[in-house]
């Protein structure tokens, strides 16, 4: 390691720009600069110093702000591309159709290309996740690379800085002054700066007033918050940390809750409401929009049970009632770290069908049959020698295949039955196929028929069950992030150096990490009060000179 020995005798590590002790510029670049680069106080930054081994190179890659910003920009562009078409989770894919076909149907050739490039599921793609991972590494590396030297140098800063350091600050001023006057100025400055809430340190003939040093930690704090947040997000991939299940539950039904062992849910009622005409403001009624079309409420009234022992699903009386709740959108049922959300619904699902066994000719009834469509019985005894056997049940009848009735789904959307009817008159039984608005008699004309009477319906609630144990971690990350951003944004680190030189001059230099305008207001207040030298903003001077040279200044 090549150390750099400053004129003041301090030995600085390789890569230092400004002497850690006195602030003298050490590099040729800084020596010739009118205003020194005050980033990280001129400390040696690892990534800017070593570039030999492979580890150096990897470290330098990830700690580079250029690389970090590039990753941010690539992520940003990729994220934007992902919004050109709805992502695959928001696309309605018909049953028996694949997602690709859905993209082609909905969005044509563009949809096909989009799907084939993998853009339809961009955010779960390996490369997008890799980008986020790289961003995380970059945040960590860059923060350590710069945060550590910055912290060290601010912690160890001396009151006295070399004149060459002060002269190269953006704000600098000097004037000749008698020794006693100088001392008086320093005293006044100390008083004023303390009034302005600066911390003042003095040594013989030198003064350092400093304020809000903690503001410099803001970026590092918010980066820590971001890393905690990203860690939390990663943790959800671990089993047990994250549960995402869904449950369709009919009114009156009790079901075990997927993902929630030992818990059962009973659905009392599902309600769907729209706004009534009188609930809407007059202005709205006058507009063309359909009055009853605005949804007001989706609500499932449920009871949550916990089974007393690890038994199987039994009757609700064997279970402990632990909560009842009206689950609405924005009002999930929360229990034991789980949350149940109102996500979907189905109105008027068929519950039961009621038939009447009648003699076709006379119309005489032999009794009624009530068929529960979720669990039809095998046989219904009507007494007096009559009974009906359910030979076949097709919840969603979709037609015949090879003479056999087919069902598309186990849900009773379009129920159909094959009945065998026994009566005293027809003891051998007659077979009839009954669907909605359709009766077939495949084995010959029958004397009796199952006459459709009425249906009973009920609503179905679609609930989502979530448990996310990473939420506290995400919350902590979020809070730390916000804290860091606020600290870094709403305060600025300001410093004022004053120094009486041996040849009878008073030097003034000031620095702030941002908001120079406010710093200058502080300076204006102190310079007149303490008879300090008039200062100039050397950067502004430069620009003015340039403007004048260009002849742009017509004032």
């Amino acid at each position: 390691m090549k150390n750099i020995t400053c004129e003041c005798g301090h030995v600085n590590p390789e890569g230092t720009h400004l002497c850690e002790k006195c602030g003298r510029p050490l590099t040729e670049e800084e020596k010739h600069a009118k205003v020194v680069d005050m980033k990280y106080e001129g400390r040696a930054i690892r990534s800017k110093t070593y570039n030999k081994t492979i580890i150096d190179k990897i470290w330098n890659f990830f700690s580079s702000v250029k690389v970090g910003v590039s990753i941010i920009v690539i992520t940003l562009v990729a994220a934007a591309i992902g919004t050109f078409l709805p992502q695959v989770m928001y696309v309605n894919v018909m049953q028996g159709e694949d997602a690709k076909q859905a993209y082609i149907d909905n969005y044509g050739t563009f949809g096909k290309i989009y799907y084939n490039l993998g853009l339809s599921d961009i955010y779960s793609s390996w490369w997008f996740q890799t980008l986020i991972g790289m961003l995380a590494i970059s945040i960590i590396a860059a923060s350590i690379d710069r945060g550590v030297p910055l912290y060290k140098s601010l912690k160890n800063q001396r009151v006295k800085r070399h004149e060459s350091f002060m002269k190269r600050q953006r704000i600098f001023g000097e004037k000749e002054i008698a020794a006693d006057k100088a001392e008086e100025s320093l005293n006044l400055a100390e008083k004023k700066m303390k009034e302005l809430k600066y911390k003042v340190r003095r040594e013989d003939g030198v003064l350092l007033a400093e304020k809000n040093r903690f503001a410099r930690s803001g970026p590092y704090i918010n980066h820590v918050g971001l890393i905690i947040f990203l860690f939390g997000v990663m943790l959800r991939l671990m089993p047990g940390f994250y549960i995402d299940e869904s449950l369709w539950i009919r009114e009156g039904e009790t079901a075990s809750i997927p993902g929630m062992d030992g818990y059962y849910l009973h659905n009392n009622k599902f309600t769907f409401e729209t706004y009534k005409k009188e609930e809407q403001k007059q202005e709205f009624n006058q507009s063309k929009a359909a009055v009853n079309s605005i949804a007001k409420n989706y609500q499932s009234d449920v009871v949550l049970y916990q089974s007393k022992d690890e038994g199987i699903a039994g009757e609700t009386q064997d279970m402990k009632k632990v909560a009842h709740h009206a689950i609405q959108v924005n009002k999930p049922l929360k229990y034991d770290g789980y949350a149940l959300y109102q996500m979907d619904f189905k109105l008027n699902e068929l519950k039961a069908m009621n038939f009447n066994l009648v003699n076709k000719k006379t119309g005489k009834s032999l009794g009624e049959v009530d068929i529960d469509l979720t669990e039809p019985k095998k046989e219904y005894d009507l007494g007096s020698g009559s009974k009906v056997e359910v030979k076949g049940y097709y919840p969603t009848f979709s037609g015949f295949d090879d003479g056999e009735p087919q069902s598309d789904s186990p849900l009773p959307n379009n129920p159909a039955f094959i009945f065998k009817m026994y009566t005293p008159e027809t003891p051998k039984g007659e077979t009839s196929f009954v669907a909605i608005k359709q009766t077939l008699e495949p084995l010959g004309t029958t004397k009796y028929q199952m006459k459709f009477q009425n249906i009973e319906t009920r609503n179905v609630s679609g609930l989502t069950i979530r448990k996310d144990r990473t939420l506290p971690i995400l919350a902590i990350g979020g809070i730390i992030f916000m804290l860091g951003v606020v600290i870094g944004s709403y305060w600025s680190h300001r410093r004022l150096w004053l120094q009486r030189t041996n040849d009878g001059r008073l030097l003034l230099a000031a620095h702030t990490n941002k908001n120079w305008f406010s710093m200058k207001k502080d300076l204006d207040a102190v310079t007149t009060y303490a008879h300090l030298p008039l200062w100039v903003d050397q950067q502004e001077e430069d620009e003015k000179e340039m403007e004048e040279k260009e002849g742009d200044n017509t004032l």
Binding site: V65, V69, I72, A79, P86, K281, F284
Partner: protein, 395 residues
């Protein structure tokens, strides 16, 4: 007068006050002579007073509408965009009291005026809330996000003024051309407002039926003469203009028609302005920025990002995530609006890093601030109106 009428009147008063305020700010930056500063100060005082009166009226609109509708008036395009315009003025007033820069008002107020005018083109009816919006998070999330965006918008205003002053508009450079494109975009928005208002005043309605992409027949009413017809459209209002071409089911021909009308009209307006001015708009406006201190403007631009970024992070990401967890069972779902909030956030994060570590100050920083505003407006306009998603009820 009912509460809702009062609310509309207050908004109108605010609108007029902003117009008047702009003129006074114009007076505050004018004057080539060295002794202009005294009169400038007087004009500046009047201008900010008028602006504050306008802002109070604007707040009055917001509060009365809130009371009338029973929920924070940020639940649809009109309400949100108007609130955004109001917050832009609020953010300007805040920054004005830190930096006392009248030229900021000269540009911030017209932008707020355009935003509010744009908002007024959407249906103004008070509508009841759908279940997804029934939450106090609507108030918290939307208002904080809008505030953050409006403070960030002030950095774009500062950036724009910086560019006005520093870009040589007499030469044809990339910068001068892009600056003029920004001006042209502003004129296009004006074109949209004028076209929509004109046909609204004429009470233009043309009814059509069409077949949507699922094969269902739908009805639609055009409020501008139809340039493009919806998929397999049929005209129901025979005396109205016949569409020039039919569009496939994927394209919303009504919106396309409005966009094309706006571009047509805006372009004509732009040409007329150019003919009157006999120079580019940016060149014509440039003298107004002569007296500004570039260093200070650069700092204003940076400072507004610094003030706005935490507010935006809190409102558009943190609060958004909390609400999403409550309403949709997940804090993040890659919905387009969410993604564009993330994009905005990433963009300003990049802005801050470039500025801090790469020393991107001055023009570069100013351009970034303007691009940031474009992203915010894209999120407001395009994402709501074009890209369908969970947030699209706002359209």
């Amino acid at each position: 007068m009912s509460l809702i009428d009062l609310s509309s009147t207050l908004l109108f008063i605010a609108f007029i006050a902003y117009l008047v305020g702009t003129l006074f700010f114009g007076g505050a930056v004018k004057g080539g002579k060295k002794d202009a500063s005294v009169s400038n100060k007087k004009w500046g005082t009047i201008a900010i007073t008028v602006t504050i009166i306008g802002f109070i009226a604007n707040l009055g609109y917001f509060i009365t509408r809130w009371i009338y509708s029973g929920h924070a008036p940020v639940s649809n395009m009109f309400e949100f965009t108007t609130a955004f315009g109001m917050f832009v003025v609020g953010a300007f007033i805040l920054i004005y009291f830190i930096y006392k820069l009248p030229s900021l008002g000269l540009f911030a107020l017209p932008i707020a005026i355009l935003i509010i005018a744009y908002a007024s083109m959407f249906p103004k009816e008070v509508t009841p809330l759908i279940p997804a919006l029934k939450s106090y998070w609507l108030t918290i999330h939307v208002i904080t996000a809008a505030m953050g965006e409006s403070i960030l918008a002030i950095s774009a205003v500062a950036g724009l003024i910086y560019l006005m002053k520093s870009v040589d508009t007499q030469k044809r450079t990339k910068s001068s051309i892009w600056l003029e494109i920004v001006m042209y975009a502003g004129v296009l928005v004006l074109g949209f407002v004028i076209v929509t208002t004109t046909f609204k005043l004429m009470d233009y309605n043309a009814d059509f039926t069409y077949v949507d992409k699922n094969g269902a027949t739908q009805e639609i009413t055009y409020n501008t003469p139809a340039l493009f017809g919806m998929h397999e459209y049929e005209m129901k209002s025979p005396d109205k203009m016949k569409p020039l071409a039919a569009m496939p089911a994927l394209v919303n021909a009504k919106k396309l028609t409005t966009v094309v009308w706006s571009i047509l009209f805006g372009s004509i307006l732009y040409i007329i302005i150019r003919l009157i001015l006999r120079k580019s708009i940016s060149r014509a406006i440039q003298p107004l920025t002569k007296r500004v201190n570039m260093q200070l403007l650069d700092e204003v631009g940076y400072r507004s990002v610094l003030i706005g970024f935490p507010v935006f992070s809190l409102g558009a990401l943190v609060f958004a995530m909390i609400w999403a967890q409550e309403a949709w069972s997940r804090f993040w779902g890659w919905d387009p609006k969410e993604v564009w909030a993330l994009i905005t956030w990433l963009f300003y994060a990049a802005f801050l890093h470039l500025r801090l570590s790469k020393g991107w100050q001055g023009q570069k920083s100013a351009w970034l601030a303007v691009i940031g505003f474009v992203i915010i407006m894209f999120n407001l306009v395009a994402v709501n109106l074009i890209i369908a998603g969970l947030h699209s009820y706002a359209g």
